[in-house]
């Protein structure tokens, strides 16, 4: 036992170190890697301080909010752990009994919320199962011997600590995104976020029309390249390849070619046909083309073949070759050979390269035209013989090739991305209409709020639909729970939460509530992070950013439910789920749900009047399945209130101080 304790505290110590380094470096402290190359964490900035100086006021706010969310999440976890060990000094009155009982079974009350949540949503099928699964392992305290319980608690704590360690290692970048109008937004992206989430985040910040063309792009001025990230791609990874002195930029812009293949598949799959036929293509024929090429057992790559100009290694001369695109790569026909497949020579395969548009290559490389594209390993940032430059006769064929290569490289993901993007776009249309006056972030207008919730949902949207359709009824309980901290009254919460997710209208009420909340922050930490999100946003101007993280939330929720042992230890079995109302904790569950829900199920379309209930279920499920995967759950999701104690590094606390000062002003 002592050993374990020792180990545990050692780990906590390490945790702190990591957290601090996080604060200082902005970047995920890759403690292990000492390589210089690995150091380029902050993008475009030499170090965080510098970058901070460059930030504008509201950027700082946004960033601050992000950071605090992270910090709080970490703290919460920490707090829960500590609770387990010592008497829960932090725990506020809200907290139910559990915390104090150390040796007793259910020290960690926060688990109970989850169970409670599930209980409340009895209606939904999934929930019950989750609850039941939890229940069995640690039959309410009585059965397991004290020793067992203690042992388990320790194990759980260690698990948590490990998780924290992993969490602390999560790489995060502060990214400055350039807008079309020359302005910029700053946001924090962690390595688990994909471009879709970042886009949603940007939608939130920019109040654009959210159409499917919006893209996050990277430019490389040195090589005069640019490309739009695919929505399923991870953003941090490619950005990490940038060099310290890189002048690369991240842009947020509309790129009509991004999903053109799904809007006009005939232009890619029947490109040999005459232009008029293509233009007059009927919708049902387009649909059929998409079916044939994207919905079968294998993805079909457009049948491209043509003469392209290839830049010769190290020279500024270009030679022509007959190239062919196949699912397995780009090939060319060697001189004097036929076009037969077996004679083709492989020019490049797509596993390790990305495709980029070249800008102004006529000047830079004496290319025959300016319609050039490039294939290179994403890590290559400077001129190199390993970069392949190709030049097309016109922009039309360039787009054909680039799109064809993307289809070959990304396959079904592209189609999935498009479907998701479409859903987002249609949702946003709806939202915008309902709330015509989307105000700026700075204004604490209700609309904004509404939006943020939507955003959070945005992730969830997919999942929601499924569940919603199943049983809409249950929703109310979760909502109520969400609100819990401040006004436990069921009245307010019930309807809005659900609506909020899908529609903007419902949101307003929520907003108000959150405002009231401010106080609880510290306590909240103890509780599972979930509830805070919405309120936080209100306080902070930048909240939206946080919302995106949903996935993490899921993780959180996942923790409690999954490991039965867990339940036994930390959080005693979710006590008697039945009375969620009485327990303050319940709220967290719903929160999780909201944020967590998004990640689980992917595709379903978003029904507007989604019921929170639906969301709940998915969340529950997810958690259940995730059980074992504790590390995954990014706490970030849960945007805690700014109040959280300054457990983080110096930098963090400074930031927080700054924030707190700001608040009163507002």
């Amino acid at each position: 036992m002592d050993d374990i304790d020792a180990m545990f505290s050692a780990m906590l110590g390490e945790m702190d170190l990591l957290t601090q380094s996080l604060g200082e470096e902005t970047v995920p402290p890759e403690a292990l890697s000492s390589t210089k190359k690995e150091v380029n964490y902050s993008i475009g900035f030499t170090d965080l301080n510098e970058s901070l100086h460059e930030l504008e006021g509201n950027d700082l706010d946004a960033l601050m909010a992000d950071l605090m969310a992270d910090l709080n999440a970490t703290e919460e976890k920490l707090a829960t752990e500590i609770e387990g060990l010592k008497a829960p000094s932090n725990s506020q009155p809200d907290f139910p009994p559990p915390p104090k009982g150390l040796s007793t079974e259910p020290a960690p009350s926060h688990i109970s919320p989850s169970s409670a949540g599930s209980g409340s949503s009895n209606v939904s099928t999934p929930v019950p199962s989750a609850a039941s699964s939890l229940a069995p392992p640690p039959p309410p305290g009585a059965k397991p011997t004290v020793e067992e319980i203690e042992a388990q608690m320790k194990a759980d704590k260690i698990k948590l600590a490990l998780e924290k360690l992993k969490e602390a290692k999560v790489k995060k970048l502060v990214v400055k995104v350039l807008m079309n109008d020359g302005s910029s937004k700053t946001l924090m992206v962690d390595e688990r976020q994909n471009v879709r989430e970042v886009l949603d985040n940007m939608f939130e910040k920019s109040h654009c029309d959210c159409n499917v063309n919006w893209s996050i792009c990277e430019t490389n001025p040195e090589l005069q390249l640019e490309r739009a990230f695919e929505d399923h791609e991870n953003l941090v990874e490619p950005l990490s390849a940038w060099t310290r002195d890189s002048e690369n930029k991240v842009l947020f812009q509309e790129r009509p070619e991004k999903y053109e293949v799904f809007k006009n598949p005939q232009n890619f799959y029947l490109w040999k046909k005459d232009k008029r036929t293509l233009k007059d293509m009927k919708d049902k024929d387009k649909e059929l083309l998409i079916q044939e090429n994207f919905c079968g057992t294998s993805i079909i790559v457009p049948d491209l073949e043509g003469v392209l100009h290839l830049k010769e290694d190290g020279k500024k001369s270009w030679k022509q070759r007959l190239f062919q695109l196949r699912a397995s790569g780009i090939y060319y026909v060697p001189k004097g050979k036929t076009k037969s497949s077996r004679d083709l020579v492989c020019f490049v395969q797509f596993d390790n390269v990305n495709v980029y548009y070249g800008k102004d290559f006529r000047t830079k490389y004496k290319a025959p035209t300016d319609f050039c594209f490039v294939l290179k390993h994403p890590q290559i940032q400077k001129e190199s013989q390993y970069i392949k430059y190709l030049c097309c006769d016109d922009s039309w064929s360039m787009n054909l090739w680039v799109t064809g290569i993307r289809i070959a490289k990304y396959g079904a993901s592209l189609h999935e991305n498009f479907k998701t993007a479409e859903i987002k776009a249609s949702n946003s249309v709806w939202t915008n209409r309902s709330t015509p006056s989307s105000s700026n972030q700075s204004t604490p207008s209700p609309t904004v709020k509404a939006k943020s919730p939507n955003q959070a949902n945005g992730h969830a949207t997919k999942p929601q639909p499924g569940p919603i359709s199943q049983n809409p009824a249950p929703p109310p309980p979760p909502l109520a729970e969400v609100l819990p901290p401040p006004p436990p009254d069921p009245v307010l919460p019930p309807p809005p939460p659900l609506a909020a997710k899908t529609a903007s209208k419902p949101t307003p009420p929520k907003r108000n509530q959150p405002n009231n909340f401010p106080l609880p922050p510290p306590d909240m930490d103890n509780l599972p992070p979930p509830p805070p999100p919405p309120p936080t946003d209100d306080h902070l101007e930048a909240p939206p950013d946080f919302l995106p993280p949903p996935p993490p939330a899921t993780g959180f929720s996942s923790l409690p439910p999954p490991p039965p042992s867990f339940g036994g230890v930390d959080h005693s079995l979710p006590p008697p789920p039945p009375d969620p109302v009485s327990l303050p904790p319940p709220p967290p569950d719903p929160v999780f749900v909201a944020s967590g829900a998004p990640p689980p199920p992917p595709p379903p379309p978003p029904p507007p009047p989604a019921a929170p209930v639906a969301t709940l279920r998915p969340a529950v499920r997810t958690s259940g399945s995730l059980k074992k995967v504790p590390p995954a759950p990014p706490k970030r999701t849960a945007p805690t209130q700014g109040g959280g104690g300054g457990g983080g590094g110096d930098f963090m606390s400074e930031l927080m101080l700054a924030m707190q000062k700001k608040r009163p002003d507002q």
């Binding site: 260690i158 360690l165 596993d351 039965p564 059980k627």
Partner: protein, 634 residues
């Protein structure tokens, strides 16, 4: 119902008299047969004490109300060549349209969606005198009773009639499990189409699906091939389609090996790697092709339970252990080819951790800062191995902002090489040594090394477990181009991307890559377009027709079915006329196949495309017949 000839020996005509032949249909009852016989023989006497004796079956057909079909008279044995090369002998219906015959066969073999398959006359095998003793084994299924139930009840995941005896089970296993790679000589001996025209000739061999076997001159014990005819695989579910999936894979594999469909060298290597993997996994993992959903559920439930227990049971120290990532350390030699420097290999103490390799002057100094640390994430890893020469090189192309850095690691022996190579492979994909696939990666590298060993020592074609000749995995073209040991690294290279696939996933991947080939799904026929003076080739695909100019070999025109308004066959002059939207009309006569075959292909594909809409399980035979039957449908 199609009519066929029945020969009956009539005792009363004398023992030496030739049998009387009457035209019957399967729905004719025994009484009717006797009546016809009486009419035909013109002998007036009391026949009431006569009856029909079925000599082959040694039984009396006494129930005059039973039809011939009910007695199974029209079911005769046929030798059936399957896509996997195995020949079965089984009783099939000779008097119903081939479409129904195929349905019966598929029912017996447990293949869903029989509409995608059909029968064709085999290519005459070149007769070699010495081949006698090599006569392929024939697996006999003639004792299997024919059931008319559309879905046979399953027992242990196979149709009940296969569960009767160990012999039958063995046959079912042959149907549902992939065959080991064929010996290179076997591949070389097979007929390979050398041109599009050759391929077109094969399509002239399809039987007419609206007429019966008898009408098409098929005799008892003749040999036919069962093949997937329409490349429009619908609703493939590995859980229920063990035989179907396996046979489709086999057909695809042979199409690749015999260059029936063209692919590039890179693609061939990948197909080779997948074949290797599939045969390896199929041998090692005893098929749990259980089609029993209840069992499946139980299995998965048990599995998840196991996982759970593991998770809960793991102690804190286990967890910690998992947290401290495993690492490799050893003395290796490194060589960094840079321009102008030819320093050669230098020995250092290497440490492999997470996805990075670092090296130190010596083991003793490994606590401090490494001389260099190389992160392998996103790098390219290639083997450079010669077992005979004991050369074990790992070639790394490591991406850096300035380009790719080339680094060679030299290992001392197989064991070391396998470990470090496996580590590099995983790291290049961003996985660490802690990844669960690490051990299996090591295993697969070692087995590949073993392959190279056996290849270099003896080039025997015996494809036993561990020693697959790489020539068994590629088409004969590459037998000439590369020696087996030259092929090994290339296939190994492709193999690293597929080595972790499960059997089913590997099969599916093979099919996907096959289906993504540009020429996939094309059935060729040589035709003469109206108004044209030369032969051209018509390619029939699941969604379109293409016209290929033989002189150039290029596709000159594409017509999609969804633009098709109607098609007609002029049976008198054997010409097909097709009208597309926009007043596009084409007409052609068929040179290498009967126009009924072309008509059936087109109608068949249109039928296939209707399937997704009507979700019903039952096959719409009538519609198929309408679309493919031609004048017989009228």
């Amino acid at each position: 119902m199609a009519a066929w000839d029945l020969s009956v020996t009539v005792e009363d005509l004398g023992l030496d008299a030739p049998p009387v032949t009457i035209s019957v249909a399967s729905d004719l009852h025994i009484g009717g047969v006797i009546l016809k016989l009486v009419e035909k023989t013109q002998i007036k006497q009391d026949w009431s004490d006569h009856a029909l004796w079925w000599e082959q079956k040694q039984r009396w057909l006494l129930r005059t109300a039973w039809t011939l079909e009910k007695y199974g008279i029209h079911h005769k044995p046929l030798r059936l060549g399957l896509p996997n090369g195995i020949t079965l002998r089984l009783r099939v219906c000779f008097s119903n349209p081939v479409f129904q015959t195929v349905m019966g066969i598929c029912r017996m073999l447990n293949i869903r969606h029989p509409e995608e398959l059909s029968l064709l006359r085999p290519i005459e095998e070149k007769k070699k005198k010495k081949d006698k003793n090599l006569a392929p084994e024939i697996y006999d299924l003639t004792e299997v009773p024919l059931s008319s139930v559309s879905r046979p009840c399953l027992y242990n995941g196979m149709p009940a009639h296969f569960a009767d005896s160990p012999e039958m089970e063995a046959i079912y296993k042959m149907l549902s499990v992939t065959q080991p790679p064929p010996a290179p000589e076997v591949i070389a001996k097979q007929y390979r189409p050398a041109s599009v025209v050759d391929k077109a000739h094969i399509n002239g061999r399809w039987l007419d699906s609206s007429r019966c076997l008898l009408q098409q001159g098929i005799q008892e014990n003749d040999k036919l091939w069962l093949r997937f005819k329409y490349y429009s695989t619908y609703d493939m579910d590995p859980k229920y389609d063990a035989v179907r999936l396996t046979q489709l894979y086999e057909q695809a594999r042979w199409a690749i090996l015999l260059e029936d469909i063209d692919c590039t060298e890179e693609e061939m290597m990948l197909f080779g790697a997948l074949q290797y993997h599939i045969s390896k996994v199929a041998q090692s993992e005893p098929q749990i092709m259980s089609n029993n959903p209840a069992m499946d559920d139980l299995d998965s439930a048990l599995q998840s339970l196991e996982v759970k227990m593991e998770g809960e049971g793991s102690s804190a120290s286990d967890l910690l252990e998992n947290m401290t990532a495993p690492e490799l350390t050893d003395y290796l030699k490194i060589f960094r080819p840079k321009r102008l420097t030819l320093k050669g290999y230098k020995q250092y103490w290497f440490k492999f951790q997470d996805t990075s390799i670092s090296y130190f002057k010596s083991k003793e100094e490994s606590i401090g800062e490494p001389i260099q640390m190389i992160n392998l994430k996103g790098c390219e890893v290639a083997p450079d191995v010669n077992v005979a020469a004991q050369k074990f090189l790992i070639r790394l192309l490591i991406p850096a902002p300035e380009g790719m850095n080339e680094v060679y690691l030299r290992c001392e022996n197989e064991q070391q090489y396998a470990q470090w190579m496996a580590g590099c492979r995983l790291a290049s994909k961003g996985k660490t040594l802690a990844d669960s696939s690490f051990q299996s990666e090591i295993q697969s590298i070692r087995s590949f090394l073993a392959m190279q060993k056996t290849n270099s020592s003896s080039s025997s074609a015996n494809a036993s477990e561990e020693s697959i000749n790489t020539h068994s995995l590629v088409s004969p073209r590459y037998h000439k181009k590369y020696k087996p040991k030259q092929l090994t690294p290339r296939i190994l290279d492709a193999y690293q991307n597929v080595a972790q696939l499960s059997l089913t996933d590997a099969l599916m991947r093979f099919l996907q890559i096959w289906q993504a080939l540009p020429d996939f799904g094309l059935s060729y026929v040589v035709v003469r377009f109206k108004g044209s003076r030369k032969d051209e080739v018509l390619g029939i695909a699941p969604n379109r027709l293409i016209r290929i100019d033989l002189s150039v070999g290029d596709v000159v025109k594409t017509w999609r079915y969804n633009n098709m308004k109607q098609w007609n066959v002029n049976w008198d002059i054997r010409q097909m006329a097709i009208e597309f939207e926009g007043n596009v009309n084409i007409a052609f006569s068929c040179v290498t196949a009967d126009c009924k075959i072309v008509h059936e292909f087109i109608g068949g594909y249109i039928f296939m495309s209707t399937r997704s809409r009507e979700k019903s399980e039952t096959l719409n035979e009538e519609l198929f017949h309408k679309l493919t039957g031609g004048h017989e449908a009228l």
